[in-house]
């Protein structure tokens, strides 16, 4: 059961959001291209509604990029108290509930996992062993971080539909910890159906469920059983995706939506500035080379799945987290909504934080880019005195900060693993203190 502290924090976070909703902030944020992108903007959803009510297919135009099922289900937002803001507040509360559930389940998972592997740990690594007492704070921390996370506050206020994808990913994550293959793949399919990139998260999910099905500890990932298990997970996932696609076709009676949703994500026709790496590059690009570089950039977003899957085969949750992080950096239309997701999940790895080394630099970069982005955008678009390079520079800083943070987390995680198996003190053969280097 949740403690009183969690409830208090939850209520506090709702109060913050309600208070801010009554200021000028939501209106401003809905126009900020760091917070909403063409595929997550609520205004575009409204456009879809009105086109549909005129009996025009919303996919004939160039504005609407939500999936057909989202178009139909999002109408309930109008029946919520306080309508759209109420709906997104509700989604935000759901996100918080699932974050809390994930945290509690994850604590158990961590302790069980540690119990299993303890016998392999070095004797000198006692200080690194996690205790229930230490982890008891995790659910509270994670809810607190979500309550004060400026990115998730901005996403909620701006009514960005990225929140829906986030929710689906979180539910899939939660069911993965619980070991429910059916629901986990279902919600992963929903997330992929909504925004395509979560498709790569199936890799950690498949790894996890195979590992879980194996009873004896030395798990081999090249046996016949493993292939069988992977295929099973993949086919359940594929079935769900196919069903979602099929229902969409039945609802729309045409495949047009594929081009305005997935085609739009993959071929990046809209070059409105955002915090990602795509827009500036493709405004500068000769049309001739465009196809090649679109392929390269899209591959870049997903290619890391392979090496990471090899490195973290035994650690599917961490793999999933890193993949969430990386896709949100390199996807074609990233926004603060994606940042909100990985920031809220960050405390799950609080036990590796002592090994992180760039918190000040990375924190400074995040704050600078978030503060400077609107200023430079103003100078470029409204004052006309700066130009696109100014804004691009700051989005580059933002991307770099994200990359630093994710490499730092991966490094810290590996460093801690190393210490677990080799002890916390490292000596050179001559007895002097050794320094562990990452090359």
């Amino acid at each position: 059961m949740a403690s009183a502290g969690v409830y208090l924090l939850g209520i506090f976070s709702v109060i913050i959001r309600v208070v801010l909703m009554n200021t000028h902030l939501p209106k401003w944020l809905r126009s900020r291209n760091e917070v909403v992108t063409p595929i997550t903007s609520w205004e575009n959803v409204e456009e879809g509604f009105s086109l549909q009510s005129q009996l025009v297919s919303p996919y004939t135009g160039d504005l609407f990029h939500e999936t057909p099922l989202a178009l139909r289900s999002l109408k309930i937002a109008h029946y919520f108290p306080y309508r759209v803001s109420g709906f997104f507040l509700f989604i935000d509360v759901l996100v918080m509930v699932f974050l809390y559930k994930i945290a509690t389940a994850f604590v158990n998972y961590l302790l069980c996992n540690q119990e299993e592997e303890k016998k392999n740990y070095s004797l000198k690594a006692k200080s690194l062993i996690l205790t229930g007492n230490y982890l008891a704070w995790l659910p509270l921390t994670i809810v607190g971080v979500h309550a004060l996370n400026p990115f998730s506050i901005m996403t909620t206020l701006a009514a960005s539909t990225a929140a829906l994808t986030n929710l689906a990913v979180l539910i899939a994550f939660y069911n993965m910890i619980l070991g429910n293959r059916f629901l986990s793949t279902l919600f992963l399919a929903v997330a992929s159906y909504q925004s395509l990139y979560p498709i790569v998260f199936i890799v950690p999910v498949a790894l996890h469920f195979y590992k879980k099905s194996c009873k004896s500890p030395p798990v081999s990932y090249t046996t016949k059983e493993s292939v069988y298990s992977f295929t099973e997970t993949l086919s359940i996932f594929g079935l769900f995706l196919g069903l979602l696609g099929g229902f969409s076709f039945l609802a729309e009676r045409s495949w047009d939506f594929v081009f305005s949703t997935y085609g739009f994500i993959l071929s990046v026709p809209d070059l409105t500035p955002n915090i990602g790496v795509f827009w500036y590059f493709f405004t500068e690009m000769f049309e001739h080379f465009r196809t090649l570089f679109v392929c390269v950039f899209q591959l870049n977003a997903v290619i890391y799945t392979l090496p990471l899957a090899i490195k973290f085969t035994e650690k599917p949750f961490f793999l999933l987290y890193v993949l969430i992080f990386i896709t949100s950096i390199f996807k074609s239309y990233p926004s603060y909504g994606d940042t909100a997701l990985y920031f809220s999940l960050l405390p799950l790895w609080s036990h590796v934080f002592p090994y992180m080394r760039n918190t000040l630099v990375v924190g400074g970069m995040y704050i600078c880019s978030v503060v400077l982005a609107p200023i430079l955008y103003h100078l470029w678009i409204f004052a006309g005195s700066a130009n696109a390079n100014f804004y691009f520079a700051i989005t580059l800083v933002y991307s770099t900060a994200q990359i630093f943070l994710v490499t730092d987390i991966v490094f810290a995680y590996l460093r801690r693993e190393y210490d677990l198996y080799h002890g916390t003190e490292h000596l050179n053969p001559d007895g002097t203190k050794a320094r562990i280097k990452l090359d």
Partner: protein, 693 residues
């Protein structure tokens, strides 16, 4: 990734920072200021040049009649018209005459609602007149504006001179321009009432936007997007030099090409041109070879400082400032009358304006080349953003260095405390069983080695800390105490941050809240504004005292290093942001704030605390405003007069800043009250903190 993962080089950097942070701070700040000021020295800046080639053909021969008789006649006419009623502006006369020469001429009414509605519901109404000369060679797709403020003779003063020479010139030029076949952009003659307010009303209506306090009627006719605007303030007499005003709303500047154009055309007419009345010696005007002497440097520096002084206010220095709000390049040309010196009659002015408009007529694209961020040490020299930003960067680097050092010290202290607590525990355990076997002995040996190393680092840290707080004794007993605020970290300083945010919100909203209750007191509006500011300021000054009151310790129990580090990093970020928008404002703020905020520390000595508190008050926003008031009131007969006049000026300035924020959406008030003020409050808590932490 060597940059971030190589511990070795990083540790070296950290050591360097810890050992020399104060020296580095001083050097970086002083070098920054000196470098910034040195930019005015001719060898360090660059000569202006045209980036936009399309502008140059305007510099050909004038096509105005050599004896521009009509201009002289009209000037006499308008003069007699204005003399009839000194309180009125000649709307009807302008309207009638522009109609007569066959141009589309319209009137636009607007009204100004007083922002403090509870004080008075009075509505001021005004009237703009504008006339459009349609270009023969284009379908009204682009336009240029010649704007002339209408000022009744009784309101004329030194800052806002009479403008009826400009009206006569506009009418005469309209007649001439109408005959020419080469216009490809419409020319709009705009005569605006109430200076900036009328201009803004007209621009709002032109772009179909609405503002909260200025209600403008819709315009009956329009042209295309406005490419550039020249605001002309020309008296009826012959002028001795032309004065350029560039600074727009929120420190925006017109494209340097437009400035170059006007300067070049004035030079062609052999007339003197200046920035903020800072006249250059004739000798140097036509050549770039000189300007390396001390006197020349002083002159350039004073020109640059004058420009920065006006830009720093964030208020527009003339009507052109309103055009900047709509992304239209604009500047003001003032004719200045002096008894001595050369005289340029209205025909010279006409040729200059004709040249400007013919050049602008040739523009093929919007102004986009040349510079938008610059400072001018002379009319023909410039300092671009690439030149002044490194210097400014050095200035604020000082506070960043100090902030990062304190952050590192904070982390080290925390580690050290954890280590000491651990050591104590271990020692206790050791004393329990003395007979440890050899294995543990070996272990402890290596541990000792490590400890020795750690201690070495820590003693360095400690020394550093001691250096900082020389006059207080470092209380060793306190460490390891769980109630020690340094162990609580962020939590101990959260109340301070919340209080300063609350006070900042009050300072931002204060005047408006006060205005609601004001009629009961029947005080003048300006007084009320400054009283409310003073009230909030006093509350702010007292807040550490109020927070101490309940506790037994006479000092604030906070982790002051963390607080100061956060405040310094925040200050760096804030100043960098302001510098992007308005470099002059950021420069003056940094020049005053950085040295004081970098050097505050908690102390037990009463004298030192008071010295720090006084220094902090001296760099507070309100006091800086008072200094500005004093400087603008400078030559007075006695000190008392100076202070009183300075106070009156400050009152007026703050009121104007507030009005600008309401009417024109100027940001200076917001920057002062919502960004700089809360930062200052964070620093204010530092001298009150308990020095033993």
């Amino acid at each position: 990734m060597g940059l971030l993962t190589n511990e070795h080089s990083r540790n070296r950097l950290v050591k360097l920072l810890l050992a020399h942070d104060n020296k580095l701070c001083c050097v970086s700040y002083i070098a920054g200021v000196v470098w910034f000021l040195a930019l005015a020295y001719q060898p360090f800046n660059a000569g202006t040049y045209f980036s936009e080639n399309a502008l140059l053909p305007g510099l050909v021969e004038s096509e105005l009649p050599p004896m521009f008789v009509s201009a002289l006649q009209i000037k006499d006419e308008i003069h007699s018209e204005m003399e009839k009623d000194k309180k009125k502006t000649p709307h009807a006369w302008i309207y009638k005459n522009f109609r007569e020469i066959g141009l589309e001429t319209y009137q636009q009414n607007f009204s100004l609602i007083y922002p403090f509605r509870s004080v008075t519901t009075q509505i001021v109404t005004g009237e703009n007149v504008f006339s459009i000369l349609r270009a023969r060679r284009a379908a009204s797709t682009e336009a240029l504006v010649l704007s002339i403020p209408l000022r009744p003779l009784i309101n004329v003063n030194k800052e806002r001179p009479a403008t009826h020479g400009g009206i006569a010139l506009a009418l005469a030029l309209a007649k001439e321009f109408k005959r020419k076949p080469y216009w490809s952009k419409d020319i709009i003659f705009l005569f605006s009432d109430f200076d900036e307010i009328g201009t803004l009303a007209w621009l709002d209506a032109y772009h179909k936007t609405e503002s909260e306090y200025i209600k403008a009627n819709d315009l009956p006719a329009r042209s295309g997007p406005i490419q550039a605007a020249v605001n002309l303030e020309l008296p009826a007499q012959d002028v001795s030099y032309y004065n350029l005003l560039l600074e727009g709303l929120n420190g925006q500047l017109p494209n340097l090409d437009l400035v170059n154009l006007v300067v070049r055309l004035c030079r062609r007419e052999r007339s003197q041109v200046a920035i903020h009345h800072s006249l250059e010696k004739r000798r140097h005007q036509y050549s770039d070879s000189h300007g390396e002497s001390w006197d020349d440097f002083k002159l350039s520096l004073s020109t640059m400082m004058r420009m920065m002084w006006y830009q720093a206010s964030g208020a527009p220095s003339g009507n052109h400032g309103m055009f900047h709000k709509y992304h239209i390049e604009a500047l003001t040309v003032q004719g200045v009358v002096k008894k001595k010196g050369s005289h340029n009659d209205i025909i010279t002015s006409a040729r200059i304006v004709e040249g400007v408009f013919r050049s602008l007529n040739n523009l093929l694209e919007r102004f986009h080349q040349s510079f938008f961020f610059y400072l001018l040490p002379a009319t023909n020299r410039y300092v671009s953003i690439g030149m002044y930003m490194p210097a400014f960067g050095l200035m604020i680097l000082a506070s960043l260095i100090k902030g990062i050092t304190l952050w590192i010290v904070c982390g080290d202290l925390k580690e050290k405390r954890a280590l000491e607590a651990k050591k104590l525990k271990e020692e206790k355990e050791k004393s329990k069983d003395d007979k440890g076997d050899e294995k543990t002995d070996k272990k402890s040996e290596s541990e000792d080695k490590e400890k020795a190393e750690v201690e070495e680092v820590l003693t360095k840290v400690k020394e550093h800390v001691k250096e900082e707080s020389k006059d207080d004794e470092f209380d060793d007993d306190d460490e390891g105490d769980p109630n020690n605020p340094a162990n609580q970290g962020l939590i101990s300083i959260t109340p301070i941050i919340l209080v300063s945010l609350l006070l900042a919100w009050m300072a931002h909203q204060g005047p408006e809240l006060m205005m609601r209750i004001m009629p009961k007191f029947r005080i003048h509006t300006e007084d009320m504004v400054i009283y409310s500011m003073l009230a909030i300021f006093t509350a702010a000054v007292m807040y550490p005292k109020l927070m101490i009151r309940k506790s037994s310790n006479p000092n604030l129990m906070i982790d002051w290093r963390l607080l100061k580090s956060i405040a310094l990093i925040g200050q760096t970020l804030a100043l960098a942001c302001v510098a992007l928008l308005n470099i002059s404002q950021a420069f003056f703020l940094a020049a005053f704030m950085v040295p004081v905020t970098c050097s505050v520390w908690p102390t037990k000595s009463r004298v030192m605390r008071w010295v720090q508190l006084i220094a902090l008050v001296m760099v507070s926003m309100l006091f800086l405003m008072f200094v500005v008031g004093l400087i603008s009131a400078w030559p007075q007969t006695s000190t008392w007069d100076l202070i009183m006049k300075g106070y009156a000026n400050t009152k007026h300035l703050i009121f104007l800043g507030l009005m600008d924020a309401y009417l024109f959406n100027a940001w200076s008030e917001m920057i002062g009250s919502a960004i700089i003020f809360p930062l200052w409050l964070l620093f204010w808590a530092v001298p009150w903190a308990d020095p033993s932490f």
